[in-house]
């Protein structure tokens, strides 16, 4: 994810706000779609409704991967 976002991995903390990590919202869309392909997870908009931080995102992927 750090490579995708072109940022240092140390910036990907649990509390890091996703919109602060990217310059354009479209990059977040691409990243979430790529992650779903990578981990064979399928999400819908509702699943990410309350996701604000990097930690929130990880927890959504973890819960859907189970």
């Amino acid at each position: 994810m750090a490579a995708f976002l072109k940022i240092k991995a140390t910036k990907l903390t649990d509390e890091a706000v996703l919109t602060d990590l990217v310059t354009e919202s479209f990059i977040l869309v691409e990243m979430v779609i790529e992650l779903q392909e990578e981990f064979s997870v399928r999400l819908v908009q509702e699943d990410l409704k309350h996701v604000k931080t990097f930690g929130d995102l990880i927890r959504v992927f973890e819960s859907h991967a189970k």
């Binding site: 479209f26 869309v29 691409e30 979430v32 779609i33 790529e34 392909e37 819908v44 908009q45 990410l48």
Partner: protein, 185 residues
């Protein structure tokens, strides 16, 4: 050229570039397949359209205005972020229909320069194919996402599209209404 017209052609150009970059990056990251293949052509079309608008402006002895925000940025704000390929295609279908409608209205504007009209005609041919391939892809995704969910998603994004279009008309009311000679409903 009228400043309003220069602004709107620059706005079209920026939106075409935004679409090209978004689909280009998505196509790069997707697994190879029919959707990835057609998305690749789609982004090349959008890129070409941006070139057409710039060429059109230059042929009319103008330079495009550099813009940061595009029409699509407002979509994300109004509709929320699409998070899977079905949602991306659903929002794309709505957006492409809006583009065709907008270009059709503008191409009928009184005293339109023939260079601008020709540019619309060239672009509209591609836009029809965009709606066609996205529609087919959404049909194929019914087995994965369900027909009902796809229809609900299209309905949700249609509502957001109407909001964004009205907001854009309100924000740039004077210049848009002057060029397009349309009345607010």
């Amino acid at each position: 050229m009228d400043e309003n017209e220069k602004w709107i052609l620059s706005f079209y150009r920026t939106s075409e570039i935004t679409g090209a970059l978004f689909f280009g990056r998505l196509a790069k990251g997707m697994k190879p397949g029919p959707i990835q293949r057609d998305m690749t052509k789609h982004f090349s079309d959008e890129s070409l359209h941006a070139w057409y608008w710039q060429k059109c402006l230059e042929d009319l002895n103008e330079k495009p205005i550099k813009m940061r925000e595009s029409y699509q940025d407002q979509y994300l704000e109004a509709a929320g972020m699409p998070v899977n390929i079905m949602e991306v295609l659903a929002i794309t279908q709505i957006f492409e229909k809006r583009v065709i409608q907008q270009y059709a209205i503008h191409s009928q504007a009184p005293d339109l320069n023939p260079l601008i009209r020709n540019t619309f005609e060239k672009i509209m041919q591609d836009e029809k194919w965009h709606i066609e391939w996205v529609g087919k892809a959404l049909k194929e995704l019914e087995s994965e996402y369900g027909k009902e969910l796809i229809e609900q998603t299209i309905k949700k994004f249609s509502k957001a599209d109407k909001e964004v279009y009205e907001k854009t008309l309100d924000e740039h009311e004077e210049r848009l209404r002057k060029i397009l000679s349309i009345r607010k409903k």
